[in-house]
């Protein structure tokens, strides 16, 4: 795991978020969400400050971050592609879509492509089960996705990656 120290600005952002959330009952999850919303992930070097503020051990905070699939310890790619693997999507070709995404993006599931352009993740249910298969790219949901449609959606993601520095 790469250790890139957080910038002073990021640390200041986290301090402000800690101040905002620390007195809330059960503050840890709302605080971790706020940090990830602001920074895109929860860097390891903000864990001690969070632990201190909430009266927890660093191990407890680390344990929570690593327990939940949603929290990231490393920055994701510039675009996150999620393909649903749950049963309703499997019934309509979801597994094939995930395999296709791996090939088209040149990126295995659960990983970020070397150029940092894209992260590919399986997801377990986007709640679009009557319009399966479903894919989420960034914030945008897509349902009734055919292989051709996925290819054209991903072409945009991949093109963006090619022109990026």
């Amino acid at each position: 795991m790469k250790l890139i120290p957080s910038s002073a600005q990021d640390l200041a952002t986290v301090s402000a978020l800690i101040a905002e959330h620390r007195d809330q009952p059960g503050a840890l999850l709302p605080l971790l969400h706020a940090v990830q919303d602001a920074l895109g992930h929860v860097p390891d070097d903000v864990v001690p400050a969070i632990a201190r503020a909430l009266g927890l051990s660093r191990a407890e905070v680390h344990g929570v971050i690593t327990y939940y699939h949603f929290f990231r310890r490393e920055a994701p790619g510039r675009q996150v592609v999620q393909v649903c693997r749950a049963e309703a999507c499997q019934a309509c070709g979801g597994e094939e879509l995930l395999a296709l995404a791996e090939r088209v993006l040149g990126c295995e599931r659960h990983s970020t492509r070397a150029d940092g352009a894209v992260t590919l993740e399986p997801v377990y249910c986007l709640g679009l089960c009557a319009s399966s298969p479903a894919v989420q790219i960034g914030e945008k949901l897509h349902a009734r996705v055919t292989p051709a449609r996925l290819q054209s959606l991903l072409a945009h993601v991949a093109d963006t990656a090619e022109v990026a520095p």
Partner: protein, 519 residues
């Protein structure tokens, strides 16, 4: 000239097939033609195969067109859809579409009709009637009403809601809580999502009634992180309901307090288990608690807590507004009322079907669903989420009610129904059930944590290796341990899909059907 009203849903499932683009196209085309239009972003009617389903208000009622693509919009105006004109995408008056007309929508009666965040719309469609009645009743009377209605937990466990409420009401504590379980992680289910995105005040009203009934002044809605639209809509609805006096220190002006807050989950399926959810709200790893103590007595932050699913709480307003007798009259046996069934997967007409308990799976699959989307024969139907059994065709005429399903080793659960056609590989789906359990197990109990991984391995040995029958014996033994020895439904019910796949589709495991024992 008065503006023509168009309804374009803002439900996630409509957005995911381009509803925003359609709304923009309607506005642009109308502007170009000099037509005055007003576009309401309603919830979805739940006819998802027709989304984006655009409705036009006409003197004859709302007329439906769908599925509409942005490029269809000019031709629809040419056809005069602003006056309900004929077009290939026209389905007539929305409420007369058979899929909708044949339903018994009690909980979902406003769904897709109203603008989800409009307090005026909610009020105009019987909103707050249940809370207004409850705020003039004693807590005991509210609990009795809910008990008498026969309403049972819609999350899947089907525990009588009134009994749970009575336990919390009877507990003495300085602080009590109402927690809504909106961690709808089951594949094939979306009724909670639709409720929060499409009729959020209904859930708020139900939770406020629960608060009054048990003496809780604080409530939490625990919503999956995979549902950002639901999180945003609920937060805004809570803000507006509080400003309007339906939440806060003086609910409906009767001097009792109830406040509500959304808590966003973080992608752990097992947090749909109620005690894991409490741990998560408390800021911990979502690890299942051993029971007792019951959460009703020692729940959130150690205080007495009502925990109900979204649909249970969202059904409480109609129970209070129309009375327990009205509600319990629907359904069969001990399954009173209605369930919003969710038809999903490989089905031609997927969507939400609210019906009284007692209809059959065959009616849902063919009457409402119209068979598979692929046009191939239906092979397997999983009822009740990823932990529900695959129901074979021999059981498709059984009534959908909790006891009838339990009698043959299946569950109605949260009412999710996932259809697979004859290309489905049931051994692969059984393996997937074990894989999913291994991925999502909280790790507290051994049968679930380790049994699921051993389950994947033994299924691989059945499908690939020699000594199949010996391995089948091992798998059954393992499933027995998981069923009997797991702390919660995660490990305890994963054997349902696995064993039902093995029992009813042995050929997919490479086993000759004649060796199958009677199901």
């Amino acid at each position: 000239m008065t503006a023509v009203t168009f309804y374009v849903p803002c439900d996630s499932a409509a957005l995911a097939v381009g509803a925003d683009e359609v709304a923009a196209a309607i506005a642009a085309e109308a502007r170009q033609r000099g037509l005055a239009v007003s576009i309401v972003r309603n919830g979805s009617r739940g006819l998802f195969w027709l989304e984006p389903l655009v409705e036009v208000a006409t003197p004859a009622g709302r007329v439906a067109y769908g599925p509409v693509a942005p490029e269809d919009v000019p031709a629809l105006f040419d056809a005069g859809w602003q006056d309900g004109g004929a077009h290939a995408l026209r389905h007539g008056v929305t409420e007369q579409i058979p899929f909708l007309a044949l339903q018994e929508r009690l909980t979902f009666r406003r769904m897709g009709v109203t603008d989800p965040l409009s307090l005026a719309d909610y009020e105009a469609h019987d909103g707050w009637a249940g809370l207004r009645r409850a705020s003039g009743m004693t807590p005991e009377a509210i609990v009795n009403e809910v008990t008498h209605s026969g309403l049972r937990g819609r999350g899947g466990a089907a525990f009588p809601a009134g009994i749970k409420w009575k336990t919390v009401a009877g507990a003495t504590a300085a602080q009590k809580y109402v927690v809504c379980n909106a961690d709808e992680g089951d594949s094939g289910t979306f009724s909670d999502r639709m409720t929060m995105e499409g009729d959020p005040y209904m859930l708020i009203e139900g939770m406020a009634i629960a608060g009054l009934a048990v003496g809780a002044t604080m409530g939490y809605v625990y919503i999956r992180s995979e549902y950002p639209h639901a999180v945003a809509t609920m937060r805004e609805a809570i803000r507006r309901a509080t400003a309007a006096g339906f939440l806060g220190d003086n609910v409906c002006g009767h001097g009792r307090a109830f406040r509500l807050e959304v808590r966003k989950a973080a992608g752990a399926y097992v947090c749909g288990e109620e005690t894991a959810m409490l741990e998560s709200i408390e800021g911990k790893r979502g690890v299942v608690r051993a029971k007792p103590p019951l959460p009703a007595l020692e729940g959130l932050f150690g205080q007495p807590t009502v925990i109900n699913n979204v649909i249970t709480l969202a059904t409480v307003p109609v129970v209070l507004a129309r009375g327990a007798d009205f509600y319990r009259h629907f359904g069969v046996g001990r399954s009173h009322g209605t369930l919003p069934f969710q038809l999903a997967g490989n089905v031609k007409q997927g969507g939400l079907v609210e019906k009284a308990f007692g209809l059959t799976l065959r009616e849902l699959l063919y009457g409402f669903g119209a068979g598979t989307r692929s046009g191939r024969p239906v092979k397997a139907v999983q009822v009740g989420g990823p932990l529900g059994a695959y129901v074979p065709e021999s059981k498709w005429d059984e009534p959908l009610d909790y006891e009838a399903y339990a009698a043959f080793g299946a569950v109605v659960g949260h009412g999710g129904i996932v259809v697979h056609d004859d290309t489905a590989d049931m051994a692969a789906l059984a393996r997937y059930a074990m894989e999913f359990c291994a991925l999502e197990s909280c790790g507290k109990c051994t049968p679930c944590r380790i049994g699921s991984t051993r389950g994947v391995e033994v299924i691989d040995r059945i499908t690939q290796g020699p000594n199949k029958l010996q391995q089948v014996h091992l798998l059954r033994d393992l499933c027995d341990t998981m069923l009997g020895g797991s702390l919660c439904a995660m490990g305890g019910m994963t054997p349902y899909p696995v064993l039902s796949a093995l029992d009813h589709y042995p050929e997919d495991f490479g086993i000759a059907p004649p060796s199958e024992k009677a199901a």
